[in-house]
């Protein structure tokens, strides 16, 4: 009699513990997944911010350096490409392209001392490089979140639960190695 009751109790406890682990892991995956989405939203905010700054910058530079048409068209083209990008890899690629063209824009600006001296240009430059590094940081935060989420759902026993509730792997926001550093802007 006593033995049977004992066994019943043990089974109950084991079941409860397994259920608890299941619930805890499930919730943890949800938290991790939400963190990815939040980090992604951050990237979007910063991309949008840079996107909005560019027309302003182009106008300012045009005021001093009308003849540099080639750079302007390239920047505008890259900006449009970023606007049209939808998926994560597409956005990453368009973003890299825009960074490159902005670099050449700033290189061009160096040939115009008056432009470099203008208060408005300096502020735009600071805002842009600030946004640039925020993009880099939000990408870093995003990738960190993806890494811990992917690790979580791939490792046993997480993988079982992930399979049951279809938690899917997420993509990293890839960037070319040389792009990992934000654009260096000299302002001294």
């Amino acid at each position: 009699m006593i033995g049977e009751i004992m066994i019943e109790w043990i089974i109950t406890i084991v079941v409860v513990v397994i259920l608890l682990i299941l619930i805890l892991m499930y919730n943890r995956f949800v938290v991790l997944r939400n963190r990815i989405d939040n980090a992604w939203a951050q990237i979007d905010v910063q991309l949008k911010r840079r996107f909005d700054l560019i027309p302003n910058l182009v106008e300012t530079v045009k005021g001093y350096a009308k003849h540099e048409k080639k750079v302007f068209t390239e920047v505008t083209k890259a900006r449009t490409a970023l606007m049209e990008a939808k998926t994560i890899p597409e956005k990453a690629k368009a973003n890299n392209m825009l960074s490159e063209t902005l670099k050449s824009l700033f290189a061009v600006a160096e040939n115009y001392p008056k432009l470099e001296a203008s208060e408005n240009f300096r502020m735009l430059q600071e805002e842009l490089s600030g946004t640039e590094s925020k993009i880099a940081y939000s990408r870093q935060a995003y990738n960190d979140s993806v890494l811990s989420y992917n690790n979580g759902i791939q490792m046993f026993p997480g993988s079982v639960i992930a399979g049951m509730f279809s938690f899917k792997q997420r993509d990293f926001f890839k960037t070319e190695e040389k792009e990992a550093q934000p654009v260096k802007v000299q302002f001294e």
Binding site: E126, G130, S133, A141, E188
Partner: protein, 298 residues
């Protein structure tokens, strides 16, 4: 160990610290009561009760207003976007990297290179950097310093450190008061015999020891923490050399942080008091060379 364990540990330590300070205070209350009340247990209990109430109030105060006190003491004022655009941008960027809300951003009117973070949790955090740091550090170096501060914010170091500001200050103040009162009005019941003298001696010993113990707690809290924040700051900024270069500049810079006090010293990024000063005996910060070496080895 992962970051979440670190946070849980720091929270626990903050509460333990408050508890420990309460115990020390109640102990002091007991001794005061013995000294002033002779053997009268009513007086002893009332002293202990007062000490208990004070410690609860102070613990609450340090938890909720410790950050304001620290900012007030250092005369910090809010940064504005026109003057400090790149500073504000750096803090915002690193807040994104650390995945915490953007803290309140302050400037300390001091020509030395220094910084601190304060507040009870990342939602109520403030970061303050000296004018000297904004002037003398380049962007990468400044980001290194801010990354160090952001990691204090993220892992709840600053709750522990902020709580310490007020609690350590209070114990120092109380034992000071006690010793002074002994000096002037003490020993009124001089004819009570030897028992009283012993208690008196114990009281004085405790009054001297308590602030030293408090000071030691402060040390234990902050030294290891600086290495840890250097390391996790480097992970945040992905650029240990920036922080190492900032530390090198601090080493060369002869300016002391005049707006730091004994109560806030351990909050700062680097020891506010330079070499040769007496405070170095109880240094709250690991040596700069050692910090630089560890960062450059990363």
């Amino acid at each position: 160990m992962n970051a979440f364990d670190e946070v849980a540990k720091n929270k626990l330590k903050s509460y333990l610290l408050m508890f420990l300070f309460a115990l020390i205070l109640i102990g002091l209350g007991y001794v005061f009561g013995m000294v002033y009340g002779g053997g009268n247990s009513f007086i002893i209990y009332s002293f202990m009760l007062i000490a208990f109430i004070i410690s609860v109030l102070m613990a609450l105060a340090s938890y909720f207003w410790g950050d304001k006190a620290a900012l007030e003491i250092s005369k910090a004022r809010p940064a504005n976007r026109r003057e400090h655009a790149h500073y504000i941008n750096s803090v915002e960027g690193l807040a994104i990297a650390a995945q915490v809300p953007v803290p309140k951003i302050y400037v300390i009117p001091d020509q030395s290179i220094n910084a601190f973070a304060t507040g009870r949790d990342p939602e109520h955090a403030s970061v303050a950097v000296t004018e000297g740091a904004l002037k003398k550090l380049n962007r990468v170096e400044l980001e290194g310093v801010i990354a160090h501060e952001m990691s204090h914010v993220k892992n709840y170091d600053m709750r522990l450190m902020t709580v310490t500001v007020i609690l350590v200050g209070l114990i120092a103040l109380l034992s000071d008061l006690f010793i002074r009162s002994m000096w002037f009005g003490g020993g009124r019941d001089g004819d009570n015999g030897k028992g009283n003298t012993v208690i008196l001696l114990v009281g004085i010993a405790l009054a001297i020891l308590a602030p030293i113990v408090a000071e030691l707690i402060k040390l234990a809290i902050s030294r290891k923490r600086e290495y840890a924040a250097d390391a996790s700051g480097a992970v945040l900024s992905r650029h240990p050399q920036g922080l190492a270069d900032a530390l090198k500049k601090i080493k060369k810079d002869s300016e002391e942080t005049k707006l730091a006090t004994k109560a806030t010293a351990h909050l700062y990024f680097s020891n506010p008091f330079k070499k040769g000063s007496f405070s170095n005996l109880f240094s709250t910060h690991p040596p700069l060379d050692e910090r630089i070496r560890k960062l450059e080895a990363m």
